[in-house]
Point group: C2
Chain length 121, copies 2
């Protein structure tokens, strides 16, 4: 079971697999009733029609983690999508960078991505 499934799903049963599955939800912060200034949203991009909603989020001041796994083998679509996202973050003074093979982070005005990594390799 994936962590992201644990976050949204029921409490998992303990199994005897290689390592015990962890219910990350117990460590999750409870959403407070008042709205936040900025949200981090996750979006899965499967075609270019999805770009407009991502633009809207960035213009509204939200960070979007874009899952490009569904389109990354279509180089033309990927290039077009990244160019569009680049234009938006450029317009608002945000930032864009790849996080791993499948994830690209886009940020709104006032939020930048630090390219140096803390710890590790």
């Amino acid at each position: 079971m994936k962590i992201k499934e644990l976050l949204f799903g029921p409490i998992p049963k303990q199994t005897e697999s290689e390592y015990a599955e962890l219910d990350l939800s117990q460590y999750e912060e409870v959403m407070e009733p008042e709205p936040a200034e900025t949200y981090i949203r996750v979006a899965e991009l499967s075609n270019l029609d999805g770009i407009s909603e991502l633009k809207k989020e960035i213009y509204e001041g939200n960070v979007v983690v874009v899952d490009i796994s569904a389109i990354k083998r279509d180089q033309m679509m990927l290039e077009r999508a990244l160019r569009d996202l680049h234009d938006v973050v450029s317009d608002v003074g945000g930032d864009i960078a790849g996080l791993d093979d499948d994830l690209v982070i886009t940020t709104p005005t006032g939020i930048k991505i630090d390219r140096s990594r803390i710890g590790g390799r």
Copy 2:
């Protein structure tokens, strides 16, 4: 070659692999000279000593994407790390959620994580 390598490395040569490698750096926003209010930083957590630097980042108002792949098979260490991070974000009114199997996002004051996903499944 991974996108994150493309971001920091030289311009890749075009290959005849399954799909052409993409130089994402051309779409990256140029870092502006003035400092941003908030940074998104990526941290790889390999032991509990690394937690203190992550706490510092969160207290300073930065978002940290924590790569837990190196510790996720050590359930006790993972639980301890997540509990510590939870306590910090709880203290500052931030948020914490798993992004995928290997990545956990922690946010500072004023930034929340929206659990609904845009598009996709």
